[in-house]
């Protein structure tokens, strides 16, 4: 298990390193004067020259990449020249909002998805199972930003049940949750369908296993067998899928943050792109990819930890 964990962590680090380096390389090798890009067209030539020397823009590409990582490792993600603040500050004040959104979405999709999936497997081939199946596919198919727009229109603008703007009062948990509910639901809805299907399929597979027959042969109550024994194994693949799904949820979060006018990584990148604010784009990418890879890694390790068979196999 330890060796397995070590391998996964190394791989994750390598992926983040290569993914970010590649993006960084594209940014610095793109034709055009980076000082124009970074400082804006109205910067004075003196300022440009100073900046160029300061940032080492004339160094070879590999040296620039090395320097970039050297700065990143000391926590320096560069300067946000548009608003004159460190990029790290901008990014790390945005990150918690996006994390809340993504984890809210995971909460929705895991709770509803496992419920639907277990229920379907328990009543397989009933009409309720079939309806659930079609609904699951429907959820999967619904594009998250259309769901976000529709729920904004229905629940916030028309019915006024939920707020339309912002992330709630700082320090007020209830207000935060109230503002979080709808956007996270919009992101999570598609995953409700995924999780439900995966849980249903793996549950049916598990229910056919010999040890389930053993449990039933010992007269264990139906509820214990289905929800205690079978479900425990059936949610393992769902954990993995949700871990990998965080990448998709981060994309959806961009829309949810813009549609519901929430602060977060998505709206930060969006605003930076429209303002051509490259250091912030780069810093946000780094944090977004790091966050995603970390989550996928954790899901992987949790899965391995929950499934004791895994511990010997690796």
């Amino acid at each position: 298990m330890l060796q397995y964990a070590f391998q996964r962590v190394l791989l994750a680090l390598a992926i983040v390193f290569v993914a970010i380096s590649a993006l960084f390389t594209i940014m610095i090798t793109l034709p055009g004067d980076p000082t124009t890009v970074l400082l804006g067209p109205r910067a004075t030539p003196e300022l440009r020259a100073a900046f160029r020397a300061n940032m080492g823009l004339d160094d070879p590409v590999l040296v620039q990449i090395a320097n970039f990582w050297g700065r990143v490792l000391t926590g320096d993600l560069g300067m946000d020249y548009n608003r004159n603040r460190p990029v790290a500050e901008a990014v790390f004040s945005a990150l918690p909002h996006t994390m809340a959104l993504v984890f809210g979405a995971i909460f929705w999709s895991a709770s509803l998805g496992i419920l639907l999936g277990a229920f379907s497997a328990d009543n397989r081939n009933s009409w309720l199972d079939r309806v659930t199946g079609v609904i699951s596919v429907g959820f999967i198919a619904a594009p998250s930003f259309v769901v976000a727009l529709y729920s904004l229109l229905l629940f916030s603008v028309t019915l006024r049940w939920f707020p339309t703007i912002g992330a709630g009062e700082p320090g007020d948990i209830l207000s935060r949750l109230y503002h979080l509910a709808l956007p996270s639901f919009a992101i999570g809805l598609a995953w409700v369908g995924y999780v439900a299907r995966i849980v249903r399929a793996s549950m049916l597979e598990t229910l056919g296993e010999n040890y389930i027959r053993t449990a039933r042969a010992f007269g264990l109550p139906r509820r214990t067998v289905i929800y205690g024994y079978a479900l425990r194994l059936a949610i393992l693949p769902a954990v993995q899928v949700l871990g990998v799904g965080i990448g998709g949820m981060l994309s959806s979060a961009v829309f949810a943050e813009i549609v519901f006018s929430r602060p977060g990584l998505g709206s930060l990148i969006y605003d930076s792109v429209s303002g051509r604010n490259y250091p912030v784009v780069m810093g946000s990418m780094l944090v977004a990819i790091g966050f995603f890879v970390t989550c996928a890694l954790i899901a992987d390790l949790v899965n391995a930890a929950l499934d004791p068979r895994h511990r010997v196999k690796s």
Partner: protein, 281 residues
């Protein structure tokens, strides 16, 4: 009886597949005949009729510039289909070739390609799209490039797995023992068996690509301004959500229907082509 015949026959027996085929046929028909069926010129602005609700003149109402929403959505289906087919074809072909190389190639090459696939998967699509959009000109080719970068790895993985399992299958070992050429093994044995999962993935991927295009256009990093992409229509609707709900409702419908159609088709294909999954349903 040919394989295709039996597959089509079995698909027609699946209500989900029939619904899917109806939706997809309608989409293609609307895209082909967009100019004929549009009641108005999709670029014509009738400032007198801004924010008009649905009526016999404007079936799905008008937007902030008085343009007919239905006509714009009909034109949008062309953009959606064009981007989806182009991007899926390109990323599918790249993935197919790389996946086969990984499957047949030496161990180090396989590991390298797998690592590249893993790395590409680490980019959240829309966030990468935003980052690249900052560097590239706005337009459909940017959309297609973003989609290809973020999706060919998925094809590569599937093809690689399939190739690996086939490479050591007994019937292929037998062929090799009898001295079959590498080309014969690839084109006669591996490729046909890889194509099943490949097409399922492609069918599942089409709606994803359509959604990415719409999403990028919604964010203003997709189609150039004025182009009637579904995403652009939704963006107009979002900007004027308090004036009129019609634009958003109408703009989201085709996206939902089309993704539903392709997802149903992918599901039905998978049910038919993958016997293991069929059993567990």
């Amino acid at each position: 009886m040919s394989f295709r015949h039996t597959l089509a026959g079995r698909l027609m027996a699946d209500p989900m597949a029939v619904v899917a085929l109806i939706i997809i046929t309608a989409l293609v028909a609307i895209a082909v005949f967009a100019d004929v069926i549009s009641p108005h010129d999709h670029t014509a602005m009738n400032l007198a009729d801004r924010f008009a609700p649905p009526s016999s003149t404007y079936w799905l109402g008008t937007d902030n510039l008085g343009r007919d929403t239905f006509s714009r959505l009909a034109q949008g289906s062309r953009i959606a289909l064009y981007v989806a087919l182009t991007a899926v074809t390109i990323s599918g072909l790249i993935g197919l070739v790389l996946g086969m190389i990984a499957g047949f190639g030496p161990r180090w090459l396989d590991n390298l390609l797998l690592f590249i696939f893993d790395t590409l998967r680490a980019y959240p699509t829309i966030i990468l799209a935003l980052a690249l959009a900052a560097l590239m000109p706005r337009g459909l080719s940017t959309v297609i490039i973003v989609v290809v970068i973020t999706s060919f790895a998925e094809y590569g993985r599937v093809v690689r797995t399939q190739t690996l399992s086939l490479k050591n299958a007994e019937f292929i070992l037998a062929e090799r023992a009898m001295g079959a050429s590498f080309g014969r093994i690839v084109f006669h044995h591996v490729l046909p068996n890889v194509l099943g999962p490949f097409f399922i993935l492609a069918a599942m991927n089409l709606p994803v690509v359509i959604t990415i295009e719409a999403g990028m256009s919604f964010l203003g990093i997709g189609v150039p301004p004025g182009t009637p992409s579904w995403g652009a229509t939704l963006k107009d609707g979002f900007d004027y959500i308090r004036n009129t709900p019609w634009i958003i409702i109408a703009g989201g419908l085709p996206l939902i229907l089309v993704t539903l159609g392709f997802t149903f088709l992918g599901e039905a294909l998978r049910d038919q082509l993958d016997p293991k999954l069929r059993k567990s349903r």
